[in-house]
């Protein structure tokens, strides 16, 4: 059997190794591309004082998972017109908090001392992962938009200012009388001004880009309308007793007075009751407090100095869950505030009643004597003024609303900041893995080639090799001849035949083993003589056949002489050995024979 020659097998199967490795790399690349994931991530920070205690800026419990809330995600879906559902996106979002090492160390130290310490992370990494059906930039854009929407949501919900409804537009309705319309506009302006006045100190000076003026400018414009424009409408209405339906208007004001009186009585009696409760409560509380103080003083006679009104701790402003701000107002303060409130309401109602009475008195004298034409002109004048003011208020409201939205966004960004850009990483490095796949498959295929090659050696040796000469045997020869018989032989194709004619004598004289050795040596001699491309066969019956491609008659002659010479040399090396042989060849071109059987016969005849 042939020796185990590693490189021979690899060389033999090199094309398979290359082809299969490259195919494996391509297949891996294709499959891995379909399994690729993109993970976008960014760090956000809750950058306000209460964040470390797990509270929102307005003191509510901070729920970081709100970044996954439907409102935030739906905003992203609307922005990009995505076909995904809220849940599709939500399930791919994850959050991870980070507490600094210093905080952890402090916490451990304090807990060791038996002290309570809790710290909430204020820095979070937000991740959004998508599969291979989405692109890298998709993951990046969605996460970026998600964070933007969350900042806006956070700003609106916990940091910023809500806007008030626009009540100015309702005056277009025909159900209101002139005076009522003017009242609605006045109330709207008053509520907007009050809303703007009671905001944070940076609210009015804020200059939103969208409005191109400060919120203070908008406030001034509202004030101007209330002080300079609206009073004209009132003056015109009241001076001319203008009304769309006088009876209805008077009935409305009479009703207001009656309701006011009922309310006044209610607030008056409520205030009186409240005062009574307050006084009783105070009296009883004081007596309890005195007895408690005296007993506690008696119990602390040894250490009177320790008695103090200073509390040892500050009561938490929040309930146990930390979600709600607890009202710590004392009962007495609550009662006294209610008492004051009832009295103020009663007093305001009295003033309003006077005003309603004055309106009734004015209108009681009936409509001012105007001609029909003047009446129509007056109606037109009042209506147009109201419409103009309403339009001005509408426009102002839109600017205010935009401005407040921008203010909210900026305040939101102030409190909730991005600490990193949105970075996208691939789930796997496909190119690297593809190269590795080529290498691994290369090794695997090489191993397979070696195993198969070796197995081929076994098969070759068992079925197709002559065990004496180690050359292909008769079966191989038959196979080769059959194969070649199907086609015409090429030019200069030579069949050379060598027959050892006295091998029986050699066996008899030196033993069979020696005879086999002779056959083997001649086989080796022929192997060395012919190139690898030559089909060299031991056909049994001490006959060697060589089918040589590209070998003309002269070259065959020369080769034949060479072989003879070498066998003669073998004889010369051992005097007692005389190998007798016959050698001959047939060549296609010189013999004009292009069929393998005929060529073989011709060669046979020549030996």
């Amino acid at each position: 059997m042939r020796r185990f020659e590693l490189l021979r097998y690899i060389q033999k199967g090199k094309y398979w190794i290359i082809l299969l490795s490259v195919l494996a790399g391509c297949a891996f690349f294709f499959l891995a591309s379909r399994q690729q994931t993109y993970s976008a991530r960014a760090v956000i920070e809750y950058a306000y004082d209460l964040a470390s205690s797990g509270k929102t800026p307005n003191g509510q419990r901070l729920d970081v998972s709100e970044i996954k809330s439907s409102k935030v995600i739906q905003g992203v879906i609307d922005q990009f017109g995505l076909s995904e559902t809220v849940d599709d996106i939500r399930k791919n979002i994850s959050l991870q908090g980070y507490v600094s090492e210093d905080e952890e160390t402090l916490k451990t130290a304090l807990l060791k001392e038996g002290m309570e310490y809790s710290v909430m992370p204020t820095v979070y990494v937000v991740r959004y992962s998508v599969g291979s059906s989405k692109s890298r930039s998709y993951a990046q854009d969605v996460l970026d938009a998600l964070i933007s929407n969350y900042i806006r949501y956070f700003g609106e919900k916990y940091v910023s200012e809500s806007t008030i409804p626009n009540n100015a537009s309702v005056i277009s309705s025909e159900i209101y009388d002139y005076l009522e319309k003017a009242d609605l506009l006045d109330e709207h302006i008053t509520s907007v001004l009050s809303f703007m006045q009671h905001k944070a100190s940076d609210f009015l000076p804020f200059r939103p880009v969208c409005a191109s003026c400060s919120l203070q400018d908008i406030y001034d414009n509202y004030k101007y309308i209330q002080d300079s424009e609206l009073p004209y409408v009132y003056a015109e209405i009241l001076a001319n007793h203008a009304s769309r339906d006088l009876d209805l208007l008077l009935a409305d004001y009479r009703q207001r007075i009656e309701n006011g009186k009922v309310d006044q009585d209610y607030f008056g009696s409520a205030a009186a009751q409240m005062k009574e409760i307050m006084e009783s409560f105070a009296e009883k509380s004081k007596s309890i407090s005195q007895s408690s103080n005296s007993s506690s003083l008696e119990n602390h006679t040894d250490d009177k100095s320790s008695y103090s009104f200073i509390l040892t701790d500050v009561y938490a402003s929040y309930d146990n869950t930390g979600a709600q701000v607890v009202d710590r107002t004392t009962t007495y303060d609550y009662l006294i505030n209610r008492y004051a409130g009832f009295l103020i309401n009663q007093s305001n109602l009295e003033i309003d009643e006077e005003y309603y009475q004055s309106i009734l008195q004015k209108y009681a004298s009936g409509a001012v004597g105007l001609s029909e034409k003047d009446r129509e002109a007056l109606d037109r004048s009042i209506s147009s003024k109201l419409q103009r003011i309403s339009a001005e208020l509408d426009s102002l409201y839109r600017r205010l609303n935009d401005g407040v939205n921008e203010y909210n966004t900026v305040r939101g960004s102030d409190n909730l900041r991005m600490r990193t850009s949105v970075i996208v990483t691939e789930g796997m490095n496909i190119k690297l893995y593809a190269v590795l796949a080529v290498v691994v498959f290369g090794i695997m295929v090489s191993a397979a080639v070696i195993v198969i090659g070796r197995m081929g050696d076994f098969v070759e040796y068992s079925f197709w090799t002559d065990h004496v000469t180690k050359l292909p045997n008769r079966h191989r020869c038959d196979q080769y001849i059959e194969e070649m018989s199907k086609k015409m032989l090429p030019e200069h194709f030579t069949c050379m035949m060598l027959k050892i004619s006295n091998i029986r004598d050699i066996n008899d004289r030196f033993g069979r083993e020696f005879g086999n050795q002779v056959l083997l040596q001649i086989g080796n001699l022929l192997k060395q003589t012919f190139s690898r491309e030559t089909q060299l066969i031991y056909n049994g019956n001490e006959t060697y056949i060589a089918f040589i491609d590209s070998c003309d008659e002269a070259r065959a002659e020369h080769t034949m002489e060479g072989v003879s010479q070498q066998i003669d040399n073998m004889n010369a090396q051992r005097k007692d050995l005389d190998i007798k042989y016959r050698i001959g060849f047939a060549e296609t071109s010189s013999g004009k024979i292009f069929e393998i059987h005929k060529l073989l016969s011709m060669a046979f005849r020549k030996i």
Partner: protein
């Protein structure tokens, strides 16, 4: 020494093969080089043509807030809009392409963060917000049909984003409407009030700008915000005050009776509000008097005041809130009273006259017109100065840098070199195969 090692035989045969291949290659070097060069030229041509269909540009956000991920106005900047529908829509509009949707155009545009590297959650020093982006446009069939090259489209996208950015994030200067929808119908005093309000709005804008940019002097106007504010102060203190004095002194009115009715109504309304507040104030004062001091004790807290001096504070109780509310009521009463008194003063001047002479009216008109013109001029100067300031700031907010393609990039860079290596290897393989075939016959 002779050896029968088969591997060594193979090595020597490979070596001899290589030697003979080398000889063969050397013999046909010119032909092989020519073949490789031809392939390389074809590849370079392909890449060159391909590079013509793509254009890239880098964008740097060049302002202070950018490193915090914010826009100049302080809100979070959304960079995904760079290839969002709004910017794409604007770019298509600028290109005059109606057949393409913004979504289709967005397919040709890719945006990547420049220099983005990973970060570790525990390592805060690795946190970074990148401010540079790469934008690449690839010409697709739609753009080709519209005869818009990738570089043209990229410059239109750049313009569209610039517009969007300026609209959404950059202060547009001062917008104060000096006109009123019914200015001519307004009374003289109300016109004055309107002008006065606008003047104060303008002054407020100039004050905030002069604080933000104290050293800025406009090239267009030669004015600084501080100098303009000084002029504005003069206008308010002198021109506007003179004008008001004249209008009041002469009781200038357009429709006297209507104006008087309006002021009467306004004072009635103000009086009602004042009375409510006054009553509220008195009730609270009464309740403070009634407050039983023995019901609650307070704790004194040593602290510091705003002047960093020791200050003895105390816990607040209901009485504190009552006092604060009473104070607010008192202040509001005073404010209402001031307005009522002002109106009463105007009323007395209006009532002191029955009509104005033509000369008085003309002078009033002239004075108001002069003040209005002065305010117009101030607004114009302010706008010019503000525009100058904003453009000097905002022009540098977005730095665009068109990446000039080197020849190496244009012909495919490393990809080209790798392919050339491949061609050379193929040529050697072909030579080897050819040589072997020739050897066989």
């Amino acid at each position: 020494m002779k050896t029968n090692n088969p591997d060594r035989k193979i090595y020597s045969s490979i070596f001899s093969e290589l030697i003979s291949l080398g000889q063969y290659v050397w013999k046909h070097a010119l032909l092989l080089l020519l073949a490789v060069a031809l392939c390389a030229a074809a590849t370079a041509g392909y890449f060159f043509r391909k590079s013509e269909t793509t254009a890239s540009m880098s964008l740097t956000l060049n302002y202070e807030e950018a490193v915090l991920g914010l826009a100049p106005n302080g809100e979070k900047i959304d960079m995904y809009v760079l290839h969002g529908n709004e910017v794409m829509g604007r770019a298509l509009e600028l290109a005059g392409i109606a057949e393409m949707t913004p979504e289709e155009l967005a397919q040709c545009v890719s945006v990547s963060i420049k220099g983005a590297s990973g970060f570790s959650l525990g390592d805060t020093t690795s946190y970074a917000i990148m401010t540079s982006y790469n934008i690449t446009v690839r010409q697709n069939d739609s753009l080709r049909e519209a005869r818009i090259s990738a570089s043209t489209m990229l410059s239109l996208i750049r313009r569209a984003f610039h517009e969007y950015f300026a609209e959404k994030y950059i202060d547009k200067g001062v917008v104060i409407e000096l006109t009123h929808p019914a200015y001519d119908e307004l009374e003289y005093m109300e016109r004055w009030e309107l002008i006065n309000m606008r003047a104060n709005q303008l002054r407020s804008y100039l004050s905030s700008r002069s604080t933000a940019a104290p050293s800025f002097i406009s090239r267009a106007t030669g004015e600084s915000f501080a100098s303009l504010r000084q002029k504005m102060d003069n206008l308010i203190a002198v021109h506007l005050a003179d004008c008001r004095a004249f209008l009041l002194e002469h009781g200038i009115a357009k429709e006297r009776q209507t104006y008087i009715s309006k002021l009467d109504y306004l004072n009635d309304a103000l009086s009602r509000n004042r009375d409510k507040r006054k009553a509220s104030y008195e009730i609270r004062m009464m309740v403070i008097d009634q407050y039983d001091g023995e019901m609650i004790s307070t704790v004194l807290i040593p602290t510091e005041n705003s002047n960093r001096k020791f200050y003895m504070s105390k816990t607040e109780t209901g009485i504190d809130y009552l006092a604060v509310d009473a104070n607010y009521d008192a202040v509001t009463v005073s404010t209402f009273q001031k307005q009522i008194d002002t109106n009463a003063n105007i009323l007395s001047h209006m009532r002191s006259k029955t009509a104005n002479s033509a000369a008085e009216i003309e002078k009033a008109n002239t004075l108001l017109q002069n003040v209005s013109d002065s305010l117009d001029e101030m607004l114009r100067l302010t706008q010019l100065t503000a525009e100058d300031y904003i453009s000097s700031e905002a022009n540098d907010y977005l730095l665009w840098h068109a990446s000039r393609k080197s020849l190496k990039t244009q012909i495919g860079g490393n990809q080209f070199l790798a392919l050339c290596g491949g061609y050379a290897a193929l040529a050697l393989f072909a030579a080897y195969s050819f040589k072997r075939r020739r050897k066989r016959g």
